[in-house]
């Protein structure tokens, strides 16, 4: 380190260095939309952490982290506002799970609520519902419900943080056509809803011939569907005129090879998934090795078929330092929770009973704090309200 102000010769180095760190930080934190893949990876990381623990404290913290991140980094786009719906769904999951637990065998050492036991009549007498509700049973139900709720919220968060259409745009060239189909379907649906409203209004201008359901379908569905069909044709014609589907020619053999590769890859992935999930009787090679093989063959296939695509992308989302940071937090949290499960299972999966406060270790806190980092360090979203209105 050169001490500043000692040398009479003006040295530009320390200043330049300071500027470059500042410049780097400015670049890092410059408001923009992150690559959608980064946010999806982070969401999957959250879901994995939630899936690998039944510790109520950790689950509650993870849910808090997800909600905080959404609030601090979401966009103003319509799909981002749908996060509320995911929250409702999560609450519904918890309520239902607890209710069912109260209904079916809520027994345990610490009874906190006396409900009458309902016994089925006659041959159903073996089945009984409700009865004394124990704190242990309820806590167990809450823990498993929170796991599911956290996963649902994680998916919702990914939707709120990243534009789903941008994610589709980031798919490899070979899948571009599918991506376009999905994008168009997404934009046709609101239009269909619009014409449904319009035709419904127009219907009221003319006396209805009959109120029967058949008439309703004919009177409303017919114009809406033919409208949708017309629109789709116009859109298809416009896309055709603008060069959609232009492609460099590719030999028949090449097309055949890519098809074989892609089919093989999907088969391998199916077998691998089966092998992983059915841990009882399948040989070990049917698990992870099959998945890896499937992924690799699939990648080669996609690369090959992507080669015939001569399309380019306008301002593609790029993976820069903030994206890698988000990815790294997701990976670290996943690794951390697995290590936690192996080293201190009593923290990751605290046994119930006994009925105690959920144990917290420093390491488990670190895992949660790592997931929180993107909310604090990732650049803010650029498309604030000011720019969109």
């Amino acid at each position: 380190m050169t001490p500043v102000g000692v040398s009479t010769v003006p040295s530009t180095r320390p200043a330049a260095q300071g500027r470059s760190i500042q410049a780097y930080a400015a670049r890092f934190f410059a408001p923009r939309l992150l690559h959608p893949g980064a946010w999806w990876a982070w969401a999957i990381g959250c879901a994995v952490v939630a899936a690998r623990t039944t510790n109520l404290a950790i689950l509650a913290l993870v849910i808090t982290v997800i909600c905080y991140t959404v609030v601090s980094r979401r966009t103003q786009a319509p799909w981002a506002l749908a996060f509320r719906l995911y929250v409702y769904l999560a609450i519904l999951i918890v309520v239902l799970r607890v209710f069912f637990r109260m209904m079916f065998a809520p027994y345990g050492p610490t009874v906190i609520l006396e409900l009458p036991t309902l016994t089925g009549p006659g041959f159903l007498s073996a089945i009984s519902l409700f009865g004394p509700v124990s704190a242990e049973a309820l806590l167990g139900a809450v823990a498993s419900a929170l796991q599911l709720a956290a996963m649902v919220l994680a998916i919702g968060a990914a939707n709120a943080l990243a534009n789903p259409k941008r994610l589709l745009a980031a798919v490899p060239g070979a899948l571009y056509e599918w991506g376009t189909v999905v994008v168009i379907a997404l934009s046709i649906f609101p239009q269909l809803a619009e014409s449904l409203v319009r035709v419904g209004r127009a219907r009221q201008l003319r006396a209805e011939a009959g109120r029967r359901r058949v008439h309703l379908i004919r009177n409303v569905a017919m114009p809406v569907l033919s409208d949708g069909l017309d629109r789709s044709l116009v859109l298809a014609g416009a896309m055709d005129s603008r060069g959609y589907g232009r492609s460099a020619s590719m030999g028949n053999s090449g097309r055949w090879l890519t098809s074989v590769l892609l089919v093989t890859s999907s088969l391998a992935l199916c077998v691998g998934a089966y092998g992983l999930l059915d841990t009882g009787f399948t040989p070990i090679w049917m698990g992870a090795p099959m998945i890896i093989l499937g992924l690799m063959v699939g990648l080669v296939g996609l690369r090959l078929s992507g080669r015939r695509v001569m399309r380019t992308r306008y301002r593609p989302d790029s993976m820069k330092a903030p994206e890698w940071m988000v990815l790294a937090t997701a990976a670290a949290a996943c690794g951390g929770i697995i290590v936690l499960g192996m080293t201190t299972p009593e923290v990751a999966f605290p046994p119930i009973p006994p009925l105690t406060w959920p144990p917290i270790s420093l390491f488990s806190l670190v895992v949660v704090v790592v997931l929180l980092l993107p909310a604090l360090l990732a650049p803010k979203n650029r498309d604030g309200k000011g720019q969109n209105s």
Partner: protein, 549 residues
């Protein structure tokens, strides 16, 4: 350069040819206007330029179409995307992406333009078309004129030198269409593009067009210099008609030209009162819509304090108006000024947040749509939304049943509005004008006292429009109150007895057509501009004076 070499098109074997033996050579750097009646094959001709016809639409094309030396038979539209850019009627229907910037880039992405070039071209296009402020806006939130400019920009950005536009301004208000046409003119004059444009309202384009292609409806096509074509054309803008009637030494194409030649005419007209002369020719031998029924309609529609809210947006704020019986009232104003919302509120379908309206002293504001319907009927903008049966005959029978009229009533009315429509035709196969007449007939079968029409002239050519003018004035003559929302100032000049101008949900001007139209900068018809400061509105009105002498 575009060359049509003995081109004939038909859509199925055995059907008549839409285009017959067309030979054209269209040089670069021109604005070319394509005109012809509805169904005369304008869209087919435009579609053939980039191979959309027959590659996409089907049909049989014989002969050769070449664009910059590329034969469209061998090159489907996607392979011509770097040569010809196509802009369709409804820009929103052709958009693939969500935002302005992405839409501008879409065509280039398909062509494989490299990202750096793409970035510069997007920026240039944003500036050329004045879209820079809108770059990250969602396409759905733009106004019609802005959307159409984005559509033009999105094909322009791919670097095409030929633009093909099929009625690009038909859905726009006068200001927005000026904006779109100005953008196009700039492309022709500054960048030397070739622009081929089909348009029903010739008054908007005729003065700018270098050449004109005229389709006669039988498959034949004539092409020539605009002024020369206008001398013999059956379809002409009002200013040309005025030139013919007043026998100017040369056919004027623009208001400016006509005004320079109209000095003596203005002098001649200065001591006449425009109110003494008819604006449209009297109906000739047309059977009246309800000739066989006693005319029992004579009720004003009176509305006061109408408020319509959509969420936080106030579409109509405190509007009071009166549609007098036996008169035609025209509502004008830019897109989104609340005209349509007001019409829908008056049908009882759109719920109002306040205000009262009544017909013949019967208060209707709290009534359900089914009650309001027996007094007030609306023909909506998308007239075909009301049609759902497989034939014209069934639609008419359903209308008789619904309204409790004598069987055959609807068909009689339809015959008076649009003669000789085959009863077995599917309503979707009718022309725009015929569809409008069918819906109008269905709505008139219920014998309402008030009839409202939302943008009825959309897609109508001059002859169809003048028969609509006749129909409307007959309906008024029978004592009905007629309300029309329109952007078409020439149409308004012909039919309007009273004009109401709206802006931001409020009524800003009410007056007779000569008061409002002849003094307005925006809504003045061509004749009024030529003969300013005299209050003459239509060529026929001027003709009445000249012919009497």
């Amino acid at each position: 350069m575009i060359v049509f070499d003995h081109v004939s098109v038909k859509y199925a074997p055995g059907e008549p040819e839409v285009l017959r033996d067309v030979n054209l050579r269209l040089e670069d750097g021109q604005l070319i206007l394509v005109a012809g009646r509805t169904g005369s094959g304008k869209s087919t001709l435009l579609g053939a330029i980039n191979g959309h016809v027959p590659h996409f639409t089907g049909g049989i094309l014989s002969g050769r179409v070449t664009v910059d030396g590329l034969d469209t038979a061998a090159n489907p539209p996607r392979e011509l995307a770097h040569v010809v850019g196509v802009v369709c009627q409804d820009p929103l229907a052709g958009f693939v992406t969500d935002t302005v910037e992405e839409e501008l880039a879409y065509g280039m992405e398909q062509l494989g333009v490299d990202p750096a070039t793409m970035r510069t071209r997007v920026e240039e296009t944003l500036d050329i078309l004045g879209l820079a402020d809108l770059r990250s806006r969602a396409l759905r939130t733009l106004s019609g004129g802005q959307q159409q400019r984005v559509a033009i920009g999105s094909v322009l950005a791919t670097g095409v030198r030929i633009l093909v536009l099929d009625e690009p301004t038909s859905a726009l208000d006068p200001v927005s269409s000026e904006e779109v046409l100005a953008a196009l003119l700039r492309l022709v004059h500054d960048l030397g593009l070739t622009v081929i444009i089909a348009e029903h309202r010739l008054e908007r384009v005729a003065s700018y067009a270098d050449r004109m292609i005229l389709l006669d409806g039988m498959g034949s096509v004539r092409e020539g210099e605009t002024r020369f074509m206008m001398e013999t054309s059956e379809l002409v803008p009002p200013v040309v008609e005025l030139g013919r009637i007043a026998k100017f030494e040369q056919i004027p194409l623009s208001v400016r030209e006509a005004r320079r030649m109209a000095g003596p005419l203005r002098e001649l007209l200065s001591d006449k009162n425009p109110g003494d002369y008819r604006r449209i020719p009297p109906a000739q031998g047309r059977s009246s819509v309800h000739a066989d029924m006693e005319s029992a309609w004579g009720a004003d529609l009176v509305a006061s304090g109408i408020v319509v809210n959509y969420g936080v947006v106030q579409a109509v704020s405190d509007v009071s108006l009166r549609l007098p019986a036996g008169k035609i009232t025209v509502l004008m104003g830019r897109n989104g000024s609340g005209k349509s919302s007001l019409l829908w509120a008056l049908t009882g379908v759109q719920k109002t947040s306040g205000g009262r309206f009544s017909v013949d002293g019967v208060a209707l504001e709290k009534q359900p749509a089914s009650k309001v319907r027996s007094y007030i009927r609306l023909v909506p903008q998308n007239a075909s939304d009301l049609l759902y049966l497989p034939s014209v005959e069934q639609e008419c029978e359903a209308a008789d049943r619904e309204s409790g009229s004598a069987p055959g009533m609807c068909r009689t009315i339809l015959e008076a509005l649009a003669p000789k429509i085959d009863s077995t035709t599917h309503p979707r196969d009718l022309s725009e004008g015929q569809k409008l007449c069918l819906v109008l007939a269905i709505q008139l079968t219920a014998r309402p006292s008030v009839i409202l029409l939302d943008e009825p002239t959309r897609g109508l050519d001059y002859p169809a429009k003048s028969s609509l003018t006749q129909i409307l004035s007959e309906m008024a003559a029978e004592g009905r109150a007629v309300g029309v929302v329109t952007h078409d100032v020439e149409f308004a000049a012909e039919v309007a007895d009273q004009i109401i101008v709206m802006a931001t949900g409020e009524v800003i001007q009410v007056g007779t057509s000569s008061q409002v139209l002849s003094t307005s900068a925006l809504f003045a018809p061509q004749v009024a501009k030529v003969l300013y400061p005299e209050h003459w509105l239509t060529p026929y009105q001027v003709g009445e004076v000249l012919w009497e002498g």
